[in-house]
């Protein structure tokens, strides 16, 4: 097996063996996973929920001020808008979390 330089380089890094840093990173990761769980649930509900499973039921209603049936709107418009918003929300949350736990990469904020 060939060795990758990043494999070789990784264990030599001092920051990940210090117990305080390890605990801090573990906490950071736990919060990250919680954010992911919340955002992915929204992702699932707007697309698979409103856009697919509940689409027929929601089609009985119209988006106010338009002639869009609600289920059809989620499937062909709304879900996509919400996907975009979800990513930008995640970016904001994580940039804040990175700074809070001092794992950000520096440079201009």
């Amino acid at each position: 097996m060939t060795h990758s330089s990043s494999d070789d380089g990784a264990p030599a890094r001092p920051s990940v063996t210090d117990p305080e840093t390890v605990a801090r990173h573990r906490q950071y990761w736990r919060i990250n996973v919680r954010y992911l769980a919340i955002l992915i649930s929204i992702w699932f509900v707007v697309s698979y929920g409103f856009g697919i499973v509940l689409a027929d039921a929601l089609n009985a209603y119209r988006i106010p001020g338009t002639s869009y049936p609600v289920g059809f709107w989620f499937a062909q418009q709304g879900a996509i808008y919400i996907f975009v918003i979800l990513i930008f929300v995640y970016v904001r949350l994580m940039n804040r979390l990175d700074r809070e736990f001092e794992v950000d990469e520096g440079g201009d904020a």
């Binding site: 990784a10 992915i40 499973v53 062909q76």
Partner: protein
């Protein structure tokens, strides 16, 4: 000026731009060639990713498909956008932190195994080749229809253009041409859409026009179309005919497949920092969403226009576009009842349908159907070419780096110098262009079908291996390899059985749980997850340095050093 003159002018101008960029952004090192020196700004990478992702299928075929499928077309709209949420949240930041050059790089190192690397290389090459052949074919079709050259000659011109910037500039050249191609293709898509929206609904924003009122009749546009569909014996446009479960599975296969496609993933290696990888996925999806929320509007406008302009019209007085496209064989009329009029009706009508319209021509024919000025028609041709060429280039890079980096440098010839590796990458890109061109000129009959299935294959192989590799330290080499092999074999076997071995059985009552071959990748992915997790529990845990590696990729700080280490 005529349509052909406009088309020629706009296509030639866009090609000159691409070649100019190629000359300006030549690659000097393997790092330039594979990941554009990791110096691409997140915004530029977002645009490049959008162009990389939106292929001839998105630009030319998708609105047409939706226009014939109605609500069922939502599988493409949600499926080809929702994957970016998974990419941004579950993959891109961590892969960027790892700082590799290719997808098999990560799989091979994380699973401390050459076998895993080779399995990943084979998957990457297979997925990319099926895709790229379809792009070359798209180039040929645009050339033959709009510039009246032979399809094969069109493919050769396309090969020449891609060759010049992919081989010279590698990822660096590709990235900056893709930024230009994004602008060309988006402009070309939006201009006719805005024209059509104004004409039909009086609202210049297609996304609002779609939910608006039809100017001609004063009825809500979607209600009017549902009404026309019922009258002509089609299923109502906003309801669709596929089963809910199948829509669910197809959407999931496309979403997860998107997140697992190597040519999309590698784009996130090109930005400087982890933070940039996250935001650049957001930009990419925003730029994609401009087209993907316009497409359903274009689909409805095209559908309404088509029905209004041909249904029950005497064949002798059809509009000019009809005759133009009839010459290509993509529109056919057969006067079944001999009354000299076109009856365009659906399966539930008492009359016989006499008109067949190829789904692929709706976007290309739209400006002509709506009588838009000739420069708009030329613009659409240039946009279609931009979409096909940008995707082809991204795929060719995956193929060339799989050969020169994963197979040569990391597997069989680790002793080659950087100069030799760069040369090998250029040669591999050149050979890949030629092979792709060959398939574009002599398309195997199954290419179009296989492209759709590439998503299922990517979903059932790469996605679980990468996600578990990041989120579960306990995932072992044995688990990942078995999971990938079982996931992809199951999916491929199901598809091959229903598409090629027993195509006569390819109906809902024979499918497992009513899942079509298009959606089976989702089940393959679940199988992969289960196998990987179970086998990982039963095998010895990964060595300590791999666990340290996983800890490292979970935090952003230190990305700069990580990519210097692997460079």
């Amino acid at each position: 000026m005529t349509v052909t003159a406009w088309t020629f002018l706009l296509v030639a101008a866009s090609f000159a731009l691409y070649i100019g960029i190629a000359v300006w952004s030549r690659a000097g090192s393997t790092k330039d060639f594979y990941v554009a020196g990791t110096g691409v700004s997140p915004l530029a990478n977002g645009m490049a990713t959008a162009a990389d992702w939106m292929s001839a299928a998105s630009f030319i075929s998708m609105a047409g498909l939706i226009s014939f499928m109605g609500y069922d077309g939502s599988v493409y709209l949600m499926g080809w956008t929702g994957g970016y949420v998974l990419l941004a949240l579950l993959l891109a930041p961590y892969l960027r932190k790892y700082g590799a050059f290719t997808v098999p790089d990560f799989v091979g190192d994380r699973y401390y195994s050459q076998l895993a690397r080779v399995v990943a290389v084979v998957c990457a090459i297979f997925v990319s080749f099926t895709y790229v052949a379809g792009q070359m074919r798209g180039v040929g079709i645009v050339f033959s229809r709009f510039l009246e050259v032979d399809v094969n000659f069109g493919v050769l011109i396309g090969m020449g253009i891609v060759f010049s910037y992919a081989v010279l500039g590698g990822m660096k050249g590709i990235t900056y041409t893709q930024v230009a191609q994004y602008c060309v293709l988006m402009f070309a898509y939006l201009v006719p859409a805005i024209f059509l929206s104004l004409m039909i609904t009086g609202n210049p924003i297609p996304q609002l026009g779609l939910g608006g009122v039809d100017q001609g009749t004063g009825m809500a546009l979607l209600e009017r179309l549902d009404g026309l569909h019922r009258e002509l014996g089609f299923a109502p446009y906003t309801e669709g005919t596929k089963s809910t479960l199948d829509v669910f599975f197809i959407t999931a296969a496309l979403m997860v497949g998107t997140a697992g496609l190597p040519h999309v993933i590698i784009r996130f290696y090109t930005v400087p920092r982890v933070r940039d990888a996250r935001i650049s996925a957001g930009w990419a999806l925003l730029f994609i969403a401009f087209l993907y929320t316009t497409a359903p509007a274009v689909a409805v406008f095209a559908r309404t226009n088509l029905i209004d302009s041909v249904q029950d019209v005497p064949y002798r007085s059809v509009p000019e576009w009809f005759t133009n496209w009839e010459a290509t064989g993509l529109v056919t009329f057969e006067d079944a009842n001999g009354d000299g009029r076109i009856q365009y009706v659906g399966p539930e009508s008492s009359m016989t349908n006499e008109l067949t319209v190829d789904r692929d021509i709706m976007v290309l024919a739209n400006p002509e159907i709506a009588n838009l000025p000739p420069w708009v028609v030329g613009l659409v041709a240039a946009g279609g070419l931009a979409a096909a060429l940008s995707t082809a280039a991204g795929l060719l890079l995956v193929i060339s780096s799989a050969v020169s980096h994963d197979l040569l440098k990391r597997s069989f010839r680790p002793d080659i110098t950087e100069k030799q590796e760069l040369l090998a990458a250029r040669i591999a890109a050149g050979v890949a262009v030629v092979i792709a061109g060959y398939f574009g000129i002599n398309p195997p009959g199954f290419v179009a079908q296989v492209v759709a299935f590439a998503f299922g294959l990517a979903a059932s192989s790469f996605f679980p291996a990468i996600v578990l590799g990041i989120f579960s330290k306990r995932t072992t080499r044995e688990g990942a390899i078995l999971g990938m092999i079982i996931g992809i074999s199951f999916t491929a076997a199901y598809i091959v059985y229903f598409k090629f071995v027993r195509p006569e059985l390819n109906t809902a009552e024979h499918w497992w749980f009513g899942i079509s071959p298009e959606g089976i990748g989702t089940l393959g992915m679940m199988l992969n997850f289960v196998v990987t997790i179970v086998v990982s529990r039963l095998t010895p845990p990964p060595p300590p340095q791999v666990q340290v590696l996983v800890d490292l990729i979970r935090v952003p700080r230190g990305a700069g050093e990580a990519h210097e280490l692997s460079a």
